[in-house]
């Protein structure tokens, strides 16, 4: 295990720095879509949920897993869909985007 967790911490730290750099460049006008888009991305937990729900680890795991899949999918589908809906509203002067 030792090495896996160290690699994980390295990735987490680098991704956090990358996140700070990227998100500081998002203009305030897009901060609401940024938040709903972040909701969608945090739905990545669906990856873990799918394995728990369909891995055949007994009924408790299946119940937890199906619940997790449903919660995460609400974030994924709802988050991306509402972000798209909002971003389509942003038009430049003259009507084009």
């Amino acid at each position: 295990m030792g090495e896996g967790i160290v690699i994980g911490i390295v990735i987490f730290t680098l991704a956090t720095f990358l996140g700070f750099e990227l998100i500081q460049r998002v203009p305030p006008t897009l901060h609401t879509p940024l938040m709903s888009g972040s909701n969608a991305i945090s739905g990545i937990t669906v990856v873990g949920a799918l394995v728990v729900a369909g891995g055949g680890f007994g009924w408790i795991s299946t119940v937890f897993g199906v619940g997790a899949v449903a919660f995460a999918m609400m974030n994924v589908v709802g988050g991306y869909a509402v972000t798209d809906r909002m971003l389509r509203m942003f038009k430049k002067d003259g009507g084009e985007r």
Partner: protein, 464 residues
Amino acid sequence: MIPHLVAELGYLVASACFIIGLKRLGSPATAPAGNRLSAWGMLLAVVVTLLAGGVVSWTGIIAGIVLGGGLGLWMARAVQMTAMPQMVALFNGFGGAASVLVAGAEFLKAELAGEALPASTGITIQLSILIGAVTFTGSLVAWAKLQEVLTGRPITFPLQKVLNAALLLGVIGLGAYQVATPDAFLGPFYAVLAAALLLGVLLVIPIGGADMPVVIALLTSFSGIAAAMTGFVIDNHVLIIAGALVGSSGIILTRIMCKAMNRSLGNVLFGAFGAAGPSAGGAAVEGLTVRSVSLEDAAVQLAYARSVIVVPGYGLAVAQAQHAVRELAELIEKNGGEVRYAIHPVAGRMPGHMNVLLAEANVPYDRLYDMDAVNDQFEQADVALVIGANDVVNPAARSDPSSPIYGMPILDVDKARSVIVMKRSMNPGFAGIENALFYHPRTAMLFGDAKGSLTGLIGEIKGL
């Protein structure tokens, strides 16, 4: 079934999609494509997982996907733009719940099989459950406050902070016990879960409704960190990367909102701001008079203005007057004037909320200016038109050290050549603070409902 290496590369591509998607959120022109790219990345991650061979039974998965996806799509289509803060709050909570369930399932699986988990996995499972559960119930309380199911006023009781600290210590103690002793006794597991769920509620109920933007941003961050912790539990890097990105986005937005209110995060979380109710300061404005303006005079002033800066507050959205303001702006532009919008970071109910509300009313985004970009423009503005905004234009924040909002960055509306404030009455705003702007010699008050006044102005200007 695809080999492990291919699956790992698939997850790497998905991570790249998330990163490039966030980068494209740097401009409204590229943002829609960025969001779609991010969504493709998510689809890829799901497909890779389904093909990687861990899945043996499909019924539960299909049920979860159909149920969650269907509900999510329905919510995304049905939600009103004014209700976006509630929706983001709910989604934060769902993210937390998903992390709790995945980490909990991993824990139960190992416990029931009598397997000893490595200490690092044990710790990250406990962290996933703690952070995820706090995010879940905390977000539900935030949702209830925003939806006004719960009172927006802080709910406090004696020894609240002591109880919170005791709960947190209890969770840490029981969590450590579980990491140290891998037996099949599940009492501590459920105790940790229950205590963390309760802690989420207790942490958010003492926070006032006006501070919810900060709380939602912070909970967004928590939901990301919970996802990253779950990534450690199941040893999956795409969860760690995506979770870290969301975590940092939430932290940046939290910081921006705190700065815009001139408050520290500690003060927002533990200060119970607004608990005492309306208090300070009528003294400064006693003896001063308010000048009110008729619809006709305001219309003439706006029709012949060369440069108008509109300062929208949440009152504009409450009155559903965004479309009317855009129509008024188009008339002023037709008469040769220039119209810009000055957006304070806390103008809406969440970061960037007012921008979305105006975009929905077809206001072009290049007319929307942040506080820093617009503040030195007020001196050249013929008219500053304040609609439903109050504290964010109160000059006391600059000049009166005794004011509760002293030090908060504001829009320098009082520097404009003339100011028209649209307001229902002289009742003080949410924070209960008198606003010296209303008594300023260059300020004229246009009393009435924002939508009614705007429609009136539009009619008057058309008739000129």
